[in-house]
């Protein structure tokens, strides 16, 4: 259970360069939190995937990155929010090979595996919200 959140930063995603901004913010925050170089890159990649989904399928939305704490550890929480068409079948969206690109390991399943916590909710016609957390070991 998260007991505190701080350093929240929200990046609007409207054009492709916003994806770069979100990556950069995520990478900086994860470095400040003391994540190693690989984990910094994985976090940046995850943010990138979430932001790209917003950009490609919803058009616009936001990425919010913040530091979170529970009783034992500190982590980075990323929330991707959009008011796009929504996803009809969440289980399918998390299946490997479902993405239109068809690439192995791409998209949401890849993000889920790189992060520790993964939550997702979507309503058709209303939008999608994905929340992931990476805890620092």
């Amino acid at each position: 259970m998260i007991v505190a959140a701080s350093n929240s930063e929200t990046i609007p995603i409207e054009k492709e360069t916003d994806i770069v901004t979100a990556r950069q913010v995520g990478r900086n925050m994860s470095r400040q939190l003391g994540f190693g170089t690989i984990m910094q890159s994985r976090i940046a990649t995850s943010i990138s995937e979430l932001a790209r989904n917003i950009y490609l399928y919803a058009g616009t939305g936001t990425i919010t990155i913040e530091t979170v704490e529970n009783d034992e550890k500190t982590g980075l929480k990323i929330t991707a929010l959009d008011e796009g068409p929504g996803i009809a079948d969440l289980r399918k969206a998390l299946e490997d090979g479902f993405t239109t690109s068809g690439a192995l390991g791409a998209g949401l399943p890849g993000v889920r595996r790189m992060m520790d916590d993964f939550q997702m909710e979507s309503t058709l016609g209303k939008g999608t919200r994905v929340v992931v957390i990476k805890w620092r070991e």
């Binding site: 890159s41 990649t45 399943p109």
Partner: protein, 332 residues
């Protein structure tokens, strides 16, 4: 990643840079296998290499920066690797489900042959893969008569198996009301037509054998014609009969056929896995099949079907492409 591993990698790298010998490269290959077993991702490996370089000397800034690019690219490869692992476990789960389905399917096939004093029956049914699309069964009618079914469901695997269990149930239930072969197929056709996917169909021969009169009455629904072997003449004849496969047209009608067996005569029923054996590049002709059957007609029925299967398997160089079923019924 452990420090021991890092130290080992630094050592391999240092040794190689000193000697540039093949055995260091071989050592690196073995390390690669070890790392894969330990699930070390490509990006971790790139990172390890970067850190190892730092241990070996002054690393120029542009090299250090270039590693960040490489790491970023490698993360995608890492995602593919992690994805492969999840595919693997999914695959293992599917395999175990298929194994259970296969065992259940075996239980649907007759466990015992009917025994009557004046006929001898042999049967063999071998799936090309774990799950078969072939079906056969015998049913006790009364103390002188039994019925038999042989069928082939289009396609293989799970859909065929599901269809087969439905067929078995339908044949068993309809068998209770003692329909003639033509009526049996007419009813089965309706069941199949209503309950399976439009892209699937079933070919079948259903017949009833009277062990007193030695008359075999049967009807055919698009099924591979079997053979009648006349012992007196030493000749094979095609079993007459045709009809639309089950599941294509709900209104199909079927025609009853009849043959009378003399002592020593054989009925040979089969599925297309038998006739569509591939010898090299071409399919075996019916004449070639007959000459193979001819070699074994003197054997007891069960030995005959076993022996023919072995012969054909050898001829196809042990490559069984389709589900294979053969029933031999001999009047003795």
């Amino acid at each position: 990643m452990t420090r021991g591993l890092e130290a080992e990698y630094v050592q391999i790298l240092r040794d190689y840079l000193d000697s540039q010998e093949e055995d260091e490269l071989y050592g690196a290959q073995k390390l690669g296998k070890f790392l894969l077993r330990r699930d070390i991702s490509p990006e971790e490996m790139v990172d390890l290499h970067g850190r190892a370089l730092e241990k070996l000397g002054d690393v120029p800034e542009f090299v250090r920066a270039s590693f960040r690019i490489l790491t970023e690219v490698m993360i995608e490869y890492g995602n593919a690797q992690r994805s492969l692992n999840s595919w693997r476990s999914k695959h293992a789960q599917l395999q175990s489900e298929v194994a259970v389905a296969s065992a259940m399917q075996q239980a649907l096939l007759p466990q015992n042959m009917p025994t009557y004093p004046s006929v001898e029956i042999g049967a063999i049914s071998i799936a090309a893969h774990e799950i078969s699309g072939d079906y056969y069964d015998f049913m006790y009618v009364d103390e002188h008569q039994f019925s038999l079914t042989i069928g082939d469901i289009t396609g293989k695997g799970i859909p065929a198996a599901m269809c087969m269990s439905m067929l078995k149930y339908a044949v068993d239930s309809l068998g209770e009301i003692r329909l003639g072969p033509d009526q049996m197929l007419r009813h089965l056709n309706r069941v199949v037509e209503r309950n399976i996917d439009a892209s699937m169909f079933v070919t079948m021969l259903f017949g009833c054998y009277d062990t007193q009169s030695h008359v075999f009455r049967y009807a055919v629904a698009g099924h591979e014609p079997g053979f009648l072997y006349r012992a007196q003449e030493g000749r094979f004849y095609d079993l007459a009969g045709s009809g639309v496969a089950l599941g294509i047209d709900g209104n199909s009608q079927y025609k009853e056929q009849e043959v009378h067996l003399q002592i020593g005569d054989l009925l040979i029923l089969l599925t297309d896995g038998v006739t569509e054996c591939k010898l090299g590049r071409s399919y075996m002709t019916r004449e070639e099949l007959i000459s193979n059957l001819q070699h074994e007609v003197h054997l007891p029925s069960q030995n005959m079907v076993d022996q023919i299967y072995r012969r054909l398997l050898m001829l196809t160089q042990f490559e069984q492409r389709d589900d294979y079923t053969m029933i031999v019924l001999k009047r003795i």
